[in-house]
């Protein structure tokens, strides 16, 4: 059981959350996006071994979305940050891991 630090409600068990997949995938301007790029937006994800930027939503609680950096090997959550904020450096050795 992961315990995730909701930025509003504090640490809660993972069963209270909805996982929202990879973070920082902005919806492109449809008219200016060719088929390949649109397919990329819809379907392609990085799936790294190591630190992964991803979205979570505290479904059983405040229902707010937020971003997290989670190490997919250790499951350590190394950072929590708001929607719209850029991805923080997850300490020197992990930054740029993906």
């Amino acid at each position: 059981m992961l315990w995730i630090d909701c930025p509003w409600c504090g640490p809660r068990p993972e069963t209270e959350f909805r996982y929202g997949g990879e973070a920082h995938i902005a919806r492109p301007e449809p008219a200016a996006t060719d088929d390949a790029a649109w397919a990329d937006y819809l379907f392609m994800r990085t799936n790294p071994k190591g630190v992964h930027a991803e979205r979570w939503m505290h479904r059983e609680g405040c229902r707010r979305w937020f971003n997290a950096l989670r190490d997919t090997v250790s499951n350590d959550v190394v950072a929590i940050y708001p929607m719209g904020a850029p991805r923080p450096d997850a300490s020197g050795d992990e930054a740029g891991d993906d």
Partner: protein
């Protein structure tokens, strides 16, 4: 109880308990385990082995037991594969050994042992290859009957189980000397401490030893410590509790056996077992160590046991292992077992030490007691059938093989010790790394990945003084890390135990013939019947990875997870491969540490509590009327309301006719309702729906389709505009939560600039759909102030007013094609409204209708159901619903995807109607469609999505998704249900009132 000592031990001689094992009656004392009581009665043979049905006895005295597995109890309460060493004795206990028919003493399948050469490592893979069809019909059933350990109960479990969630600053696992010291230190610092231990009382290894702590008997010291812990308000001690799983983020799970030890005297109302979910700040693992068996010829004969187990049976349970024991060891510590047996009045026939020049501190005392010492020697054979009768001791020659100097020694028990393995299982589960220590041949905890510390014997400190000191320090450190105390350990209690002494790792003792030759077996894994020869064979056959060898030979894959087998097996493999142990690597331990009952894992989530059954305000009315319910998500909705003598078809047909000819009412409360407010509400809806909602006039209602950005339909429903900046959206029953999350996701993550708030009001409103030509008359009787004529209250509009004396919102929408009103009142007046409508409608022949009739009625009109006509790969165009897709809006979710090549294909599956040539045939939903009959495989051109007997048409109707179907109207295709090919015609997907003439009544 012939082998029970007259005095001593930690059993209660005043309470005699009767029990039955393998059909024979015995007596034991309170405080016994099943294993100790059997040993006190001189019974070592408990069961038969998994593969060869070899006689098996009691090897250990604890959780690591691989061999003495029993089937406890009878009937619904029977439980298979319990370790006799952990089953606490109660009066009236009955048990049998596993794997034996008719009994362990006279086992029918023991003949398999004589054909052992036919069952080498991987024999399943080699033997049962062909013909393939034999696997299911012959091989598997036979193998399952022969192997598979105990039997699962066949009746429902009459016991109850529950769960408890607990948080603590410091979790201490293991109530031995190190764990007690850690819990005391952390508890005194003020931390919230949870101490769990699998035994009935605290003390751990102390209970099986004769040492003293702080001048008191070890068990007495442990009891005093338990009393002290009980006075600390923030300390909780759970005994009879096995910490079985160590998961992420210091989440752990433990199984508490609350009444198992009481048997039939368990108090009513107390759950049998409790599953504890623990969230710990810091974890201190004081899980002790398991003694390692020595691998020698026929080392699995009943009577052969671990030296420490024999010592525990003598000291804890006052039971001698037999008349005459022989100790076989590679280390000094095991001499203590022989010494304690002699001290207790038992006889040790010999000590066999494989080391050339041992210097065990206790050797002189044993010699003085007349125990012969055979150094540089091994047990090369054991003799006897269902019990050891003697052993052959061989002096080791040059090169480590047996010399000709051999002795036959009479004995009825063999105590074997290959040293100690730290119990690193939980540490390994926590994703901690293990490190191999060459000198003692043990795996030690290495780098931790969670907030955990390992202490005492689990950390390789096998001496009592070290355990006490390390435990106290670990407890103080853990408390400090959690914010309590300064990390200083309390004073360390004194103890009189000697240091553990020297050990020379020894992995495989030679027999009288080379390993794998002759009949003798060098058993490595007692539970899975894996021998040293099997592991060597795997190596010869080319297996290199320890993970592959494990799966091929099954070593360590039993319910015991190889607690006694793994390290020996690994060392034997490393030797066969000419590598070191670290080079070969180690497999990961996984939860559970010992097996957990399904009952405990389910807890109270069974029967009516298995999943919430969501009820509407009218649920009890439906129940009272005998409704048959259909689960829709977690909701239970009335499916149909059978009258006496009616089957489901008759009931549904009657309900459909009521709606078409008179009036019906449906409980539609389960539809999702979302209140949407804010200046940008219209902008949001224009992006979410395929059609426009900014153009909707206040007071009007519009149907909409929602698509993902992949262009696929995922929900539909009607949305009303209640004010300039105020909409009320309805969703399908199953998708209500998902749609609200969908809106919030876009608002919070992609369009945070939009000023919109969305609030679920699904359960604020009870909703009744009133449908049929008489609907207006019924409603008029209850809403005299509401103008209901078509001009005042046109189709697709909403009105607020009073219905049946209650504030109501009424929508004129229709999912049946009939004149229809959806009346919403506050939830707690829903039952009142329903009953008022039934009363007002009685004169008009009103009938409640269920979801099945609703499905038939909407299918007659060709209305889709999302999730039935759609499957996540269906676009609005596939459904023929281009009319609902805006051409004007520059952007909305789904639009861009429809210009992708795949969504423009002509041969996409498109929604059509299907009429079977035989009007009486109702096709099963999901039936595949093909162009013409023939021998499979045939190209499948589509499938039936909805199919019903239509009362209005007097024939069957169906909807289907068919490749290029819209261009194929009028063509004949064939449905392919299991019964054969059914010719049918492709039609328009509307069967009834295609002009919509009935919607205004």
């Amino acid at each position: 109880m012939r082998f029970r000592l007259k005095e001593g031990g930690r059993i209660d001689r005043t309470q005699r308990l009767r029990f039955t094992f393998n059909g024979q009656s015995y007596e034991g004392f309170a405080g016994d385990t099943l294993a100790s009581a059997l040993i006190a009665n001189g019974t070592h043979l408990t069961s038969r082995s998994f593969k060869y049905h070899r006689p098996r006895g009691i090897l250990t005295a604890g959780a690591e037991e691989p061999s003495a597995l029993v089937q406890l109890g009878e009937g619904a309460r029977t439980e298979p594969n319990l370790r006799a060493t952990q089953v606490e004795l109660y009066d009236g206990l009955t048990a049998t050994g596993v794997n034996a028919w008719p009994s362990a003493n006279c086992d029918f399948a023991a003949w398999t042992g004589r054909f052992a050469p036919l069952f080498p490592a991987g024999f399943y893979y080699k033997t049962f290859l062909w013909p393939a069809s034999f696997w299911k019909s012959l091989y598997e059933p036979v193998i399952r009957r022969m192997a598979g350990l105990g039997r699962a109960p066949e009746a429902p479990d009459p016991d109850s189980y529950d769960k408890m969630n607990v948080h603590c600053d410091v979790l201490v696992v293991g109530g031995g000397p190190a764990g007690i010291a850690a819990a005391l230190a952390a508890g005194e610092a003020g931390a919230r401490v949870l101490l769990v231990d699998e035994q009935a009382a605290l003390g751990g290894a102390l209970l099986g030893l004769r040492h003293h702590v702080d001048g008191a008997d070890g068990a007495a010291w442990a009891e005093a410590a338990a009393n002290r812990l009980a006075t600390m308000p923030e300390v909780r001690v759970l005994t009879r509790t096995t910490l079985f799983g160590y998961y992420d983020h210091n989440s752990l799970s433990a199984l508490e056996r609350r009444t198992d030890h009481l048997g039939p005297r368990a108090p009513a109302g107390t759950g049998r077992q409790r599953l504890w979910h623990i969230k710990a700040g810091r974890v201190v693992l004081a899980t002790g160590a398991h003694e390692r068996p020595l691998v020698f010829a026929d080392n699995d004969r009943p009577g052969v046991m671990l030296a420490s187990a024999a010592q525990r049976y003598v000291n804890h349970y006052a039971a001698l292992p037999g008349e005459r024991a022989v100790l076989f060891t590679n280390n000094d510590a095991a001499y203590e077992a022989a010494h304690d047996i002699v001290e207790a009045g038992g006889t040790v026939g010999a000590v066999v030490d494989c080391r050339p020049e041992p210097a065990a501190p206790l050797a002189p005392a044993l010699k003085q007691a007349g125990v012969p010492l055979h150094i540089g020697s091994v047990i090369a054979a054991t003799h006897g059938t269902k019990r050891v009768r003697s052993v052959t001791v061989a002096k080791l020659g040059e090169g480590g093989g047996p010399s000709s100097e051999q002795y036959r020694i009479y004995c009825d028990s063999v105590l074997a010790s290959g040293g100690w393995n730290p119990a690193v299982h939980l540490f390994s589960q926590s994703a901690g790394k293990l490190a191999f220590e060459e000198a003692r041949g043990i795996f030690l905890p290495g780098q931790a990945t969670q907030a955990v510390e390992v202490t005492g014997a689990a950390n390789g400190s096998f001496g009592l003084a070290g355990c006490l000191a390390e435990g106290a320090a670990a407890g103080a450190r853990a408390a400090q890390a959690a914010g309590f105390g300064d990390g200083t350990a309390p004073p360390i209690p004194s103890s009189d135990a000697p240091e553990p002494g020297a050990i020379t790792p020894y992995w495989l003792a030679p027999g009288q013939k080379p390993v794998g030759h002759g009949k003798a077996k060098h058993m490595v894994d007692h539970q899975d019947d894996v021998t040293a020869a099997d592991i060597r064979l795997a190596a010869r056959e080319g297996f290199r990875s320890v993970e592959h060898v494990k799966r091929y030979t099954t070593v360590g894959m039993g319910t015991d997870q190889g607690k006694t087998a793994n390290v020996n097996g690994l060392a034997i493999l490393a030797d066969a491969l000419g590598k070191t142990v670290p080079e070969v690597g180690f497999t990961t331990y996984r939860p559970p540490y010992t097996p957990v009952t399904f009952g405990a894992l389910a807890g109270r989530d069974t029967g009516p509590l298995m999943d919430p059954l969501r009820r509407t305000a009218m649920h009890e009315w439906h129940e009272a009327e005998g409704a048959v319910f259909e689960p829709v998500g977690q909701w239970h909705r009335p499916w149909w309301y059978p009258k006496p003598g009616e089957d489901n078809h008759a009931a549904v047909a009657r309900e459909c006719r009521a709606v078409r000819d008179a009036v019906g009412i449906l409980d539609a409360s389960t539809l999702g309702k979302i209140d949407i407010k804010g200046p940008d509400a219209a902008t949001l809806l224009d992006m979410i729906y395929t059609n426009a909602f900014s153009t909707l006039k206040v007071g009007r209602v519009r149907y909409g389709l929602m698509c993902g950005d992949d262009g696929m339909v995922f929900d539909d429903g009607t949305t009303a505009r209640l004010g300039e900046n105020h909409y009320l959206m309805t969703t399908t029953t199953g998708n209500a939560a998902h749609v609200l999350e969908w809106l919030e996701e876009w608002l919070q993550t992609e369009w945070p600039e939009l000023k919109v708030y969305c609030t679920s009001v699904t359960e604020q409103w009870a909703t009744v759909a009133l449908a049929g030509p008489k609907a207006r008359d019924v409603l008029a009787a209850l809403a005299p102030d509401m103008a209901l004529d078509t001009d005042s209250f046109p189709f697709m509009s909403v009105k607020e007013g009073t219905v049946a004396g209650v504030d109501a919102r009424v929508f004129r929408i229709s999912f049946t094609g009939e004149l229809s009103f959806e009346i919403n009142v506050p939830w707690h007046h829903g039952r009142h409204l329903w009953e008022a409508l039934m009363e007002a409608g009685a004169a008009h022949g009103i009938a409640p209708y269920g979801t099945e009739a609703m499905h038939v009625l909407r299918a007659e009109r060709g209305f889709i159901i999302v999730g039935q006509e759609t499957d996540g790969t269906t676009t609005p165009h596939d459904l023929g619903m281009d009319w609902i897709v805006s051409k004007k809006k520059p952007d909305f979710l789904g639009k861009r995807a429809w210009s992708r090549e795949d969504t423009r294909r002509d041969d996409r599956k498109q929604l059509v109607g299907i009429l079977t040539d035989d009007p009486g045939t109702v096709l099963p939903e999901g039936t595949q469609l093909v162009d013409r009959p023939g021998r499979p495989p045939l190209p499948m051109i589509g499938h039936v999505t909805s199919s019903y007997a239509s009362p209005a048409l007097g024939r069957s109707i169906a909807l289907a998704l068919v490749k290029g179907g819209r261009g194929r109207k009028g063509e004949t295709v064939h449905a392919a249900p299991e019964s054969g090919f059914v010719p049918c015609k492709i039609t328009e997907p509307v069967f009834y009132d295609s002009e919509g003439a009935k919607r205004d009544g």
